[in-house]
Subunit: 293 residues, 2 copies
């Protein structure tokens, strides 16, 4: 590339000095009368007609480039040489202030990420504390938190919503369904009481699609965060008059809720598998005009 | 479209009944010997060679389509008629469970949005409470919060970080700089002490670019949220031995910090404007090989 330019240069060298300058931005020449006080510059490796440009014209061009993207450097559109741009020196105070600005702009994304993480952490810890009060009863929870090491609390409280969400992502119902489907056919008693589970899915890909469609992230999040509340409500409804403690009632309520929900869900899924197997594409109905033919 | 099909249909009608069926998926015909127990279906408006397809073949095709996107319906690739797909009826319980699932999946995005908003709200309120304690002193802040209506607190506390961020987005330094630039030339005293402000930017677009580059959202967020801490530190450093109250010290510290920072920033910007005006694109240095030519 460079060698080509040099070749061009050497061949047209003798003419060049006598040739008039052309600005490749405004097409003005150095002989134009109104072109007073305009500096010429040859900012790149181009030779020939694109060699010369007015200082003010190339500055306007650089302005346009910087307007698009401040972080890129300005290049010659022809030979892609990066322009060498110089400034007068600024005083020491301005240099320090500029450097401080740059450092702040580099640090702030990390600080902002820290703000986001703290926000999440603080909300998770608050949810953990509220959940403990809900599950154990307010007085017991406060007593327990006061007796626990505060560093331990800072670790345990945010882990409560986190572990709820993680547990919710485990698809135990799916595994149990596959297990039930496999063993129903082997055990005569099960074959009698659960005939629908004899039906195993033929097309596994279609089933995977169908099951995955049920799980979406917002549903998982909501179900996980609402579980303690549901457990408390169920526990209090079912074991209201028993001598169990608040925590025991909630745990029992939670177990009952999860079990009942799991059974219903497995039942529903198996029946949807069966429904899927009865799928049939039917003939398109003949229209009246066709029938008359 | 339909009329065309009917036209085709009527012209080939007499042949069609005698013609053998071709499946457009597997290219099998109804005369193939190994084609036992395969139902034929004509699921769309197509006539002629693409009219017939095996039930199992079209089902495989529908599976492929549903794998790509569960929410779309399956259509004929030729005439784009939507296939009519029927299932055996499921029992009432499964229907209710399916409907519950669908409702839950529709509600959960809104619930999840609620969770996000509550997280933000709770963090903002906590930041507000911490800031009040930092700015007023812990004891005074708690006394004040206890004496305030709790609904009022729920409104005021989250508005503290919000108003800090909103105030930070107001670019008062920019406005003041333009004001100073305009009036320096008119007042002789100012012209003597601030000669650099006599220089007004020529190219306003380039300046806008340069100024905007300094402001980025994470910097605004961090600067806004750190302002109370900075104000407290500056206030305590400067007015440590004075008789001012904690709140007065913080306010004075904040004012001093904002003023000093504003003056420095205006100074820096004006000098950067001057620096920008000295910008010059220089000649590309001739390489050795060129000079030897």
């Amino acid at each position: 590339m460079e060698n080509e330019n040099i070749g061009q240069h050497s061949s047209s060298c003798s003419q060049e000095s006598s040739e008039q300058k052309h600005c490749w931005v405004c097409f003005g020449t150095d002989e134009d009368e109104y072109e007073t006080n305009r500096d010429w510059v040859s900012p790149c490796k181009c030779r020939g007609s694109t060699r010369w440009v007015h200082q003010s014209c190339v500055q306007r061009w650089v302005d346009e480039k910087l307007k698009e993207n401040l972080s890129i450097k300005a290049h010659c559109p022809q030979c892609h040489t990066q322009y060498i741009i110089v400034y007068d020196e600024v005083n020491c105070l301005v240099r320090i202030l500029n450097k401080l600005d740059k450092t702040a702009n580099q640090l702030c994304p990390f600080l902002a990420a820290g703000v986001v993480v703290s926000t999440l952490y603080w909300s998770a810890a608050s949810y953990g504390a509220i959940t403990m009060m809900q599950v154990m009863g307010e007085r017991e929870a406060i007593t327990m938190m006061e007796n626990t090491d505060s560093y331990m609390l800072l670790l345990v409280l945010p882990s409560i919503p986190l572990s709820l969400i993680l547990c919710k992502t485990i698809n135990w119902e799916e595994t149990l369904l596959l297990f039930v489907q496999r063993y129903t056919s082997h055990i005569p008693l099960l074959r009698t009481i659960m005939p629908s589970f004899l039906c195993e899915p033929i097309n596994s890909s279609a089933n995977t699609v169908q099951f995955n469609s049920v799980v979406n992230p917002t549903t998982t999040l909501c179900a996980a965060l609402l579980l303690p509340t549901t457990a408390t409500v169920v526990g209090n409804l079912l074991f209201n008059n028993s001598s169990y403690s608040y925590l025991q009632k909630t745990i029992l309520g939670g177990l009952v809720y999860i079990t009942v929900k799991g059974v219903f869900r497995i039942y529903q899924r198996q029946h949807n598998v069966i429904k899927e197997k009865t799928r049939k594409v039917i003939d398109y109905p003949e229209t009246d005009s066709e029938e008359s033919n």
